[in-house]
Symmetry: C4
Subunit: 256 residues, 4 copies
C-alpha cells in the first residue's frame, strides 16, 4: 500500500458542498457530531470515499468477528433545503507529526474533487471541569467570518484555545487558507474527562443554523443521559471512598 | 541495504498453499505455534525466503558466537494429506508505525509469489489472569468464514479483541482484503504474563482441523510443564513475601 | 504541502546583511531578542519570507479568533548606520531530529538569497539558578572571531555549553561552516525556569556593539519587571507553603 | 545537506586494511579503544574521511569556543609490521532505528573504497557489577573465526550477549556478511556504570595480537586510575550516607 490509498466507493454530484470534519479528539465531540449527522440524515447520505494510509495506526477493528482496516470515510450528504455536506469521519488521527499534514492535504484534495470551497472542523475544547452551559468556541481563517458566527452565538475569546488548534482540525484551516478554502473550527466546551454528547449537540445546533439542515437529537440525548449516569456513579463512589472529602473534578478519569 | 532486501534461499512449488504467520506477540503464542509446526514437520519444510529490512531493529542475534542479522523467514511446508503451508516467523516485529504496513505488503507479495490466496495469522489475546481452559478467539476478513470456524470451536465474541488487532497479524487481514486474500486470525487466550505453550497448542489444534495436517505435541507440552513450574515458584515466593496476603495475578511479571 | 513551502511576501534588497536567528529556546532569550529588534526597528523592518514545513508541529495559532498556520518568518531590516539585518523568528523549532537539518538548510538558502554571509544565532544557556549578572557566552565557527567578541565582553569558557549547542542555533554554525557562512552564537545566561527579558537585553547589547544598531529597552525592561513580580510571588508562596524552610530555586517551575 | 555528506579530507593508499570501529557505547569501551589507537599511533595516522548525516543528532560540539558539526571520522593508520587500519570513531550513534542501517552501509562503502575486507567492531558488554578480571567476549560472522579468536583468549559464551548486539557494531557484522566482509566484534566486560579504560585496554590487547601492532598504555592506565578514585569516592559517600548498610553496585550511577 502506498502512503495514501483512496477507494472511490461511489460518485455523487453535490451542489456547492461544505466539508464537515469530525475525527476523534477531546471528548470525541467532533466524531459524535459528524456521526450523528450521518445517522439522522441516513437517507440522504452516501459513502463516497475511503482513505487508507500508512499514517494511520497499523491495525484493524473487529466487529462481529469481521475485520476492517483503519481508514477515514467521507460521506456525501444531499440536503434538500440547505447546503450539501461532505462529511469526514473515522476512528483515528495520524500517528506522526507530518502525517497530519499528509492526511489533511489528502482530505482537501477530495473536498476540491467534490467542489467544496468551505471547511467546518468540529471538535471539543477542554475546560477541566464538568459543564452546565455548553458554550461553542470558534476559530476562522478569514476575519470577516468572526462576526457572522458571533451572530449565531459562537464565542470568540482572546487567546483561546490557548495552545492553538492541533491536528487535522487545525490544519484544515491552516492548509485550507493556502489552498483557497474558507475555514471554520467549532469547538464545544467539554470537561475533557468524558465522551460528551451534550457538547456535540451544542456544536451541531450552531452548524444547523449556519448550513440550513435540521436534526433530531433523541439518540444523542439518550447517549448524554447514559453519560450523566456514569458521572453520577463515579461521584458516588468517590464520595464513599473519600469519606468526608468533597470530590473534585480532578478525580474523574476519562471515560468513553 | 534498501528498505527491503529479500533473499531467495530456495524455490519450492507449492499446491494452493496458505500463508501461516507466527511473529512475536502476546505470550509468544503465534511464534511458538509457527515454530512448532516447522519443528514437527521438519522433513517436509524448506527455508525459501529471508526478508531483511530497515524496519526491523538494528541488531544481530548471536548463537554460539556467530551473528545473524535480524530478519523474517518463510518456510515452504509440503503436507501430503493436507494444504501446503508457507510459514512466516522471525524474532521481531517492525519498529515503526508504517513499518508494519511495509513489511505486511512484502509478506503478501511473497505469499502471492508462492500462489497463496489465504492467510492465517496466529497470536494470543491477553486475559490478565492465569487460564485453565484455553479458548481460541477468531477474526476473519470475510463474513462467511465465521460460521466455518465456529464449527471448529473457534469463538467469536462481540467487541473482542477490544482494541482491534495491531501489527502484522491485523494488517495481514486488513491489507489482505484489499489484495484479494481470504484472511483468518486465530488468537489463543493467554494470561499475557508468560510465554504460553498451552495457548499455542490450542491455536494449532484448530489449525490442524482446518488445514488437515497432524502434529505431535510432546515437545510443546514439555515446554508448558516447565512454565507451570516457573509459575508455581513465583507464586510460592510471593506467598512467602506477602505473608498472609493472597497473591494476585497482578504480581506476576512477564516471563519468557 | 511539500516538506518545505516558502512564501515570498516581499522583496527588499539589503546591503551585505547578517542573518539574526531568534527561535524559541531556553528562557525564550533568542525569541525575545529577535522580536524586540523587530519591535524597536519597526519602521525599517519588512516581512519578506514565510516558511511553512511539515517539520513544524501540525497546528495553527489563534489570535482574535483568526488562525495562523505554524511557520517561521524572516524580516528584512534596513539599518541606516549599521549592518542590514535578516531577522529569523517563529513560534516553533522542528519536531524531529532531521527536521532541524532540513529547516536550517532552508534558512541558509534564504540568507544566501539575500546576500548574507554571516549568521548570528541568539539563545539562552541555563544556569539552574536565578541570576544577578547576565553574562553572555559565545561560540563561533571560525577561531579568529573569539578574540573579536571577547573585546565586546562575550565570554568563552572551556567546555561550555557542556552539551554543545542543539537545534537550529547549533546547526546554523555547523552547516553554515560547510556552506561558507561565518557564524556566531550568543547565549545569554538564564535560570532556565523563566522567560528572561534581562538575558535577552544582555544578548542584544552585545549585538548592538557588534553590528552597529541602537535600540530602546523600555518595553523589554517592563517585561522584565513583570517577571520579577512573578518570581517574587512564587518565592512568597513557597516560603508560606514551606513554613520555615528556605525556598530553593529547584522549587521554581518554568513560567512564561 | 543530504542524508549523507562525506568529506574526502585526504587520500592514503592502505595495504589490505581492516576497518576498526569504536563509536560510543556501553562504558565507552569502543570509543576509548579507537581513540587510544589513534593517540598512540599518531605518527602513522591520517584523517581521511568525515561523514556528516541527518541521522546524527542536530548539534555542534564546542571546543575553546569553536563549533564542530557532529560527524563520524575515519583515520588511515599505516602499521609497519602489522595490518593497516581504517579507524572509525565519533561522538554519536544514529538517532533512529533505520539511521543505524544507513550509517553502517555508508561506513562499509568507505571501507570498500580503501580496500578493507575485514571489520573489527569494538565495544563493551555490561555485567552490572564492578569488575576485577576483564574478560573479552567475542562474536563473529563466520564460524571458523571462533577458534582463531579463542586462541587469543577471547571468550565465546552460549547466549551472550543476551540481547544480541545493537547499533552500528552489530550491523557492521550483520550487513557486512551480506556484503562479503569478514566481521569480528570484541566486547570488553564492564560494569556499565562507568567509562571503563581498563576494559578498553583488555579489548586492545586482543586486537594487538590479532592485527600485529603495538601500543603503550600509560595514558589509558592513568585514565583508569582516575576512574578508580571516582569509584572509591562514590563508595565512601554511600557508606557514609547509608550508615551501616553495605553499598551495592546498584547505587552507582553512570559516570563519564
Amino acid at each position: 500500500m502506498d502512503e495514501l490509498d483512496i477507494d472511490a466507493v461511489a460518485e455523487v454530484s453535490l451542489d456547492d458542498p461544505v466539508l464537515v470534519e469530525g475525527l476523534p479528539g477531546v471528548g470525541h465531540v467532533g466524531k459524535l457530531a459528524a456521526e450523528h449527522v450521518l445517522e439522522e440524515l441516513d437517507e440522504q447520505s452516501t459513502l463516497v470515499r475511503r482513505l487508507y494510509s500508512r499514517e494511520f495506526p497499523p491495525q484493524v477493528t473487529v466487529e462481529d468477528g469481521v475485520t476492517e482496516l483503519t481508514c477515514a470515510e467521507l460521506y456525501a450528504v444531499e440536503v434538500p433545503d440547505g447546503r450539501d455536506l461532505l462529511v469526514l469521519t473515522g476512528d483515528h488521527q495520524a500517528q506522526t507529526n507530518d502525517g497530519h499534514y499528509v492526511l489533511t492535504d489528502a482530505f482537501l484534495d477530495i473536498a476540491e474533487e467534490f467542489g467544496a470551497e468551505e471547511v467546518y472542523a468540529l471538535g471539543g475544547v477542554p475546560t477541566g471541569e464538568l459543564i452546565d452551559e455548553y458554550a461553542v468556541l470558534g476559530a476562522v481563517n478569514e476575519e470577516p467570518l468572526v462576526e457572522e458566527l458571533e451572530e449565531l452565538g459562537v464565542e470568540f475569546r482572546e487567546d483561546e484555545p490557548a495552545g492553538g488548534i492541533v491536528g487535522v482540525s487545525g490544519l484544515l484551516l491552516g492548509l485550507g487558507t493556502r489552498r483557497g478554502f474558507q475555514g471554520v473550527c467549532l469547538m464545544g466546551e467539554t470537561s475533557g474527562y468524558l465522551v460528551d454528547p451534550k457538547s456535540a449537540r451544542a456544536v451541531l445546533e450552531v452548524l444547523e443554523d449556519r448550513l440550513g439542515f435540521e436534526l433530531e437529537y433523541d439518540s444523542l440525548d439518550e447517549r448524554a443521559d447514559e453519560m450523566e449516569d456514569v458521572i453520577g456513579k463515579i461521584q458516588e463512589m468517590e464520595q464513599q471512598q473519600q469519606a468526608m472529602d468533597v470530590p473534585s473534578d480532578d478525580d474523574l478519569r476519562y471515560i468513553g
